[in-house]
């Protein structure tokens, strides 16, 4: 559903969204911020690993694999 805000962990392969201001207390979020996953930037989920975790995401020309427990720290606005 376009326009819905949900954690990045809820995305499936192929979904895209805009990062929302989130919880910087989460250690993963701080590291993601340093890598440039800032509020307002676009992020896409590319693949989900065979056992459902981790996921591979893409933002700003960077491909990153991260666990769903870490992806849960990032809130995203789903794009169509």
């Amino acid at each position: 559903m376009s326009g819905e805000i949900c954690p990045l962990a809820a995305f499936r392969a192929g979904d895209r969204g805009l990062v929302q201001p989130g919880a910087p207390e989460h250690p993963a979020f701080q590291r993601l911020l340093a890598m440039g996953l800032l509020p307002g930037s676009e992020v896409a989920v590319i693949q989900v690993a065979p056992l459902g975790d981790p996921i591979e995401i893409e933002f700003g020309g960077l491909r990153l694999s991260l666990r769903k427990s870490d992806a849960a720290a990032v809130q995203v606005l789903r794009l169509g």
Binding site: L64, R67, D70
Partner: protein
Amino acid sequence: MSKDKTRRVRIALVGNPNTGKTTLFNRLTGARQKIGNYPGVTVEKKSGPWESGGRAFTLVDLPGTYSLAASSPDERVALDFLAGHLDGEEKPDAVVCVVDASNVVRNLFLASQVADLGLPMVIALNMADAADRAGITIDPTLLSRCLGVPVVRMVATKGEGIDALGHAVAQAVDHGALMAQVPWPEAVDRAVKYLAAGLEKEGASLLAPGELRRILFDPRSAVLERAGWPAGSDPAPLLGAARDVLSAAGWHPLSAEALLRYEHLGHLTAAAVSFPEKRRRSPTERLDTVLTHRVWGLAVFVLMMFVVFQSIYRWAGPFMEAIEAVVAHVGELVAPWLAPWPALQSLVVDGVVGGVGGVIIFLPQILILFFFIALLEDTGYMARGAFLMDKMFGWCGLNGKSFVPMLSSYACAIPGVLAARTIEDPRARLTTILASPLMSCSARLPVYTLMIGAFIEPSFGAGLAGGMLFAMHVVGLAVAIPVAWTVNKFVLHTRPQPFLLEMPPYRLPRLRDIFWRMWERAREFLVRAGTVIVAMTIVIWALVYFPRPADVRERVTADLSVLNDNSAIDRAVDAAYLEQSYLARAGRALQPVFDPAGFDWKITVGVLASFPAREVIISTLGTIYGVGHDADEDSDDLRSALTRDFWTHGPRAGHPVFTVPVALAVMVFFALCLQCGATVAVMAKEAGWRWALFGFAYMTALAWLGAVLTFQLGTLWLEWSS
């Protein structure tokens, strides 16, 4: 800047992981440090001399990091070096920040943090070739003007831009160009002043504003530790109060730095960097749709591993035979020369040629394994493997980042243990260090192939032999997971850590890099064969050759004189000498320890002699069987000697020493045992002696248990099936 002429000017290479720092370092210094297409290849500081334009520098290669908020030990190395906190070392005179030209803004985040430490800087805009291909255009002159520091366009792999870099570095050192400062909002300045005042009151050493900002933004910053905080007092209240200044102004202290720096960098680079109108689908994206796919990705992974082990087994054959023929020929050549001195002849022919030569035969297989590992590392597949395997590692306290150390350990556990430095959580790191030596390293390959070649292939065929080799490489992994789980559950308790791993673009590996790594490994192997293994072999030979009382020969000759067959008598004499040698006596005394695993005294001795280095088992068996039969006789290979050995004493007398269960038990023992002095030493360096000894003890116990179980179950199976 130091004007001291006796000290060479020191230049540090910093940058995000996998941007080509080490490639550049190797280019400039002529060194051969390891490079690879995955983040976290370099985990230690390395330095080398660099001469450019008549100036002499010392270049320092550092581990890559995304941010100075270091969270793993390798990132700490980079931070400590740049901040001048490393023991006995001052800050570098200037830094070269290696930036991936396809990801300028993200890479400059680190550069702007480094600039805050007050270090003159040059930006090396590396991988310009890849940026060109992606349609990204960058104007280095304009970018340089915007940032306030020299920017050099480079392709480190081809050596492009090296001279310009030398020039720019000399400039930076002489004129101290600093990167444009972030226009910090007033609240940040106020918080920094507050911190400075508080630190002064506490009597802590004075820090520069840039360092104070590090402490302000990064609650776990290592800089804090070095601020000379008075013992017994807690810095938390002061830091909390300083951060409250930020919060009151509407900045979250944990996200303020990233937001402010990225905003600033976005402005600075906007004019100089332009992206293609329509983003092209890169080859990496297309490959990843298959290689990280939840079904196809896994299928390709398993298939690839299967092909690797089949090839190791099959391709090596002709090369091994060639080396074997040369070794045998050398033995035949020198034997007649040394005939006047039987002891010396035996030492050279049975000991050195038979023992060490027997080890060298396995070089081709080790090289093929290295070839494949280098291929995985350089194409960028390693990170994909970590992605596919993370979940399987995760539940036992390891994580996807353990994958790289563990896979490296298939080549050799030493770089594997070192690579564990990329893991943030100290306990997950320790678990990885303890589990890595269980991965089947290339030094175990000779043992597997000897046993498989002698006992599995003849009865089950080459296809199953390759499969068996694969299985042996899985045994260690299969054991490592429950071991990690147990260590985690009862000894360490790791808490979950963020697992973020960059997936680098796929790159075509450069054959030169791959062959260089194979050559390095070959050299190391031959040096080992020429030192540790020769030394062990000479000791073993002496123990197996002596004593030589004359009455043994007389007695046997008298007993067998009726035979009238001189070569049979000679063989019997040699066998009799062997049976009363020092080694045989010691071996028989110790054999009961390994009796439940079906080992005779020769295997027992071989296993025990192999604790300094695994390959010694081959040279030991080679020497024992060499001395045990007439040296003038056409020297048989070790493989057939094994199949013709029978128990002489005890309940199994008359039965072959090596059966399929025994061969399997030997392989399992070697798969699980930590028989490598160098690995134990590296574990001690990385985790302390207590953990190294723990690792050694648990692996030895597991190995014995595994061997006994294998032999007993194998024997039961044989009885049941016949």
